[in-house]
Amino acid sequence: MSFLDVKDLKIHFPTDDGLVKSVDGLSFSVERGRTLGIVGESGSGKSVTSLGVLGLHKGGRARISGEIWLDGEELNGATAEHVRGLRGKKMAMIFQDPLSSMHPYYSVGHQIIEAYRIHNDVSKQVARKHAVDMLGRVGIPEPGRRVDSYPHEFSGGMRQRAMIAMALSCDPELLIADEPTTALDVTVQAQILDLMRDLQSEFNSALIIITHDLGVVAELSNDILVMYAGRCVEYGSTDDIFYRPEHPYTWGLLGSMPRLDREPTERLMPIKGSPPSLINVPQGCAFHPRCPFGERTEGKAETAAPALTETEGGHLVRCHMSRDERRTLWENEIKPALETS
């Protein structure tokens, strides 16, 4: 069993308009020292998944089923209080927008100290020293002074570093980063990604990076999970996803990935339409209304949901097309188009 093992996770929210199936049967696993990227458009259920792993839906309206095994312990069936004790200590999270995710009324140091003292019975002085250390380790200059600054007094990159420092303050074994660089400009993005890679190797933790941008996970991840409408549509090693992708949605994501050698306005294969409603997920293949190759399934796409099947050595794809058909399409049409542009 892996360090984190999620099996058939379903997270549904009853609303006045109907049942929102944010996550609908998701399974994945991560080992210590390894990194999983979860990629998808907004609304595909990636963030709900991460919050679900942390147990933050507990006590709310969400209906959660499936199993979440962390270090041999099942969390979905555990009490809210038990999971709370693990949060921040054994598993921690880095959020997307550090300005809104940090409390505006408390100093950065205070927020790190608070996080540390929940799980460590130490004096304020000790915790403060630890906070200064952490700020130093994430590369904040003059940490002894900046520890008393407020979040709004930091630059965006500094804030994200502080956020990381806070998440790492209790040496978590599982770290989930939800769009850790989205709010930052490009040069800072790279710095933060470098930092995260360094820290991961230093702490040897399991890392999950959630993003809509394949570029972010390209260098960092060992494995990548592509999500669509609450489900996994493709899963494989980073090489699999970048060099041998088999799902049309993944192709779309690759096509819309900004690259330095290409004009950012050019998109080879933009994904048509918008993400589906999670209340009325399309019949059959959830992706079929947007899929350019839907007609090749002879109508199956509209009636039957395709299964997630292994195509080769742990590479999983959820598509009605045959393996050969997909590979032919990739080799002959998609890949050349991506490369020539």
């Binding site: 919050l51 942390l54 933050l56 006590g59 709370r84 004790g85 693990l86 949060r87 921040g88 200590k89 921690a92 999270m93 959020f95 927008d97 809104s100 995710s101 940090m102 409390h103 505006p104 009324y105 100093s107 608070e114 996080a115 929940i118 799980h119 407020y150 709004h152 806070m166």
Partner: protein
């Protein structure tokens, strides 16, 4: 920060001067426009069926025959340098700040105001504690249990609290709790804190609750709305992700942020209340500034009106200054300049 305070204090003084001029104008100039003679104005301060001679003498004694600007100058001079008061058998010194002497009772206004301040302050402080604690906790619970029976019941009650006038709730509460049940003292009971703290609290219990009920309603609704908003903020999610206990998430992270707008409202409410809880003090016959104000206005007792208006205005000004300073303390993003 220091310059900011100095600027605000100067502004406050300017405002008090304007307020005093407006009050003076309403009292002296407007009747003149309506054609009232000094004698007609003096006729308010004489007994029944007074002779024209009496009215004339009183007009002279109160200085109504002088131009308004001279009368205003005399008032300002009294404030700054003090004044003298001729009580017939002798002359009394009225030290600065001399707000003058009541047209009706001949009592110096300033000591009277000082004397009544503790009553109003007692009323305001007790009620404020009750309404802030009561209103905020009800608001928090309502927000956390949105749509529950408690939420609907408390918000319904809050609506009633905002809508019902205090002279109604006050009178009903007196009839029920004081006269029918005998649990609370009758209207007009007031014991100074320095005399007997227990008696002080007992005598103010009903006014506190009635007044607090009125305000608590607003605070409950405001807290509820604020909590609903802040509890959906990203930093609440962060706090939970840190593994904080839910109670601390609600109080330290949610409520702390939701309380900021309430602080502003509280400052202004409290300032206004210190300036005189007119209806409460009238209903319960409490000898505070509010009762003083209403009597002064009813008797058209100019020096008293002036005194209470300026004191009340000062409290509002001071309260809003304190709120602004506190705001900067509470919310580090606010910087005063």
């Amino acid at each position: 920060m220091f310059t900011y305070i100095i600027k605000r204090v100067i502004g406050a003084f300017a405002m008090l001067i304007v307020i005093s001029m407006v009050t003076f104008g309403i009292f002296y100039v407007v009747p003149q426009w309506a054609g009232a003679s000094p004698e007609a104005m003096a006729s308010r301060y004489v007994g029944r069926a007074a002779t024209p001679e009496t009215v004339h003498l009183v007009a002279e004694r109160l200085g109504f025959n002088d131009p308004v600007i001279v009368q205003y100058g005399r008032f300002v001079k009294g404030l700054v340098a003090g004044a003298e008061y001729d009580y017939g058998a002798g002359v009394e010194q009225c030290p600065a700040p001399c707000f003058g002497y009541s047209f009706i009772s001949g009592q110096p206004v300033w000591p009277d105001l000082l004397d009544r301040l503790p009553v109003t302050f007692s009323l305001a402080i007790g009620a404020a504690v009750l309404w802030v604690v009561g209103g905020v906790s009800v608001g928090v619970i309502s927000a956390l249990r949105r749509g529950s029976f408690f939420d609907r019941l408390s918000m319904g009650t809050a609506l009633a609290g905002v809508s019902l006038p205090i002279f109604f709730t006050g009178m009903i509460s007196l009839v029920v709790f004081s006269y029918a049940l005998g649990w609370t003292p009758p209207g007009g009971a007031y014991t100074d804190f320095s005399v007997n703290p227990a008696q002080w609290a007992y005598s103010l219990l009903l006014p506190w609750i009635t007044l607090a009920f009125l305000f608590a309603a607003t605070y409950a609704r405001l807290t509820r709305a604020g909590m609903l908003e802040t509890m959906g903020e990203d930093y609440i999610r962060t706090a939970r992700a840190k593994g904080l206990h839910e109670r601390e998430v609600v109080v330290k992270h949610g409520l702390r942020a939701a309380l900021t707008p309430i602080l502003t409202l509280f400052g202004i409410d409290f300032g206004l209340l210190i300036g005189g809880a007119i209806l409460t003090e009238t209903t319960y016959t409490l000898p505070g500034l509010g009762q003083f104000a209403i009597l002064a206005i009813r008797n058209q007792d100019m020096p008293q009106v002036m005194g209470v208006v300026l004191v009340a205005a000062m409290f509002v000004v001071v309260a809003s200054l304190i709120v602004d300073l506190l705001y900067a303390v509470v919310d580090p993003r606010v910087r005063l300049s």
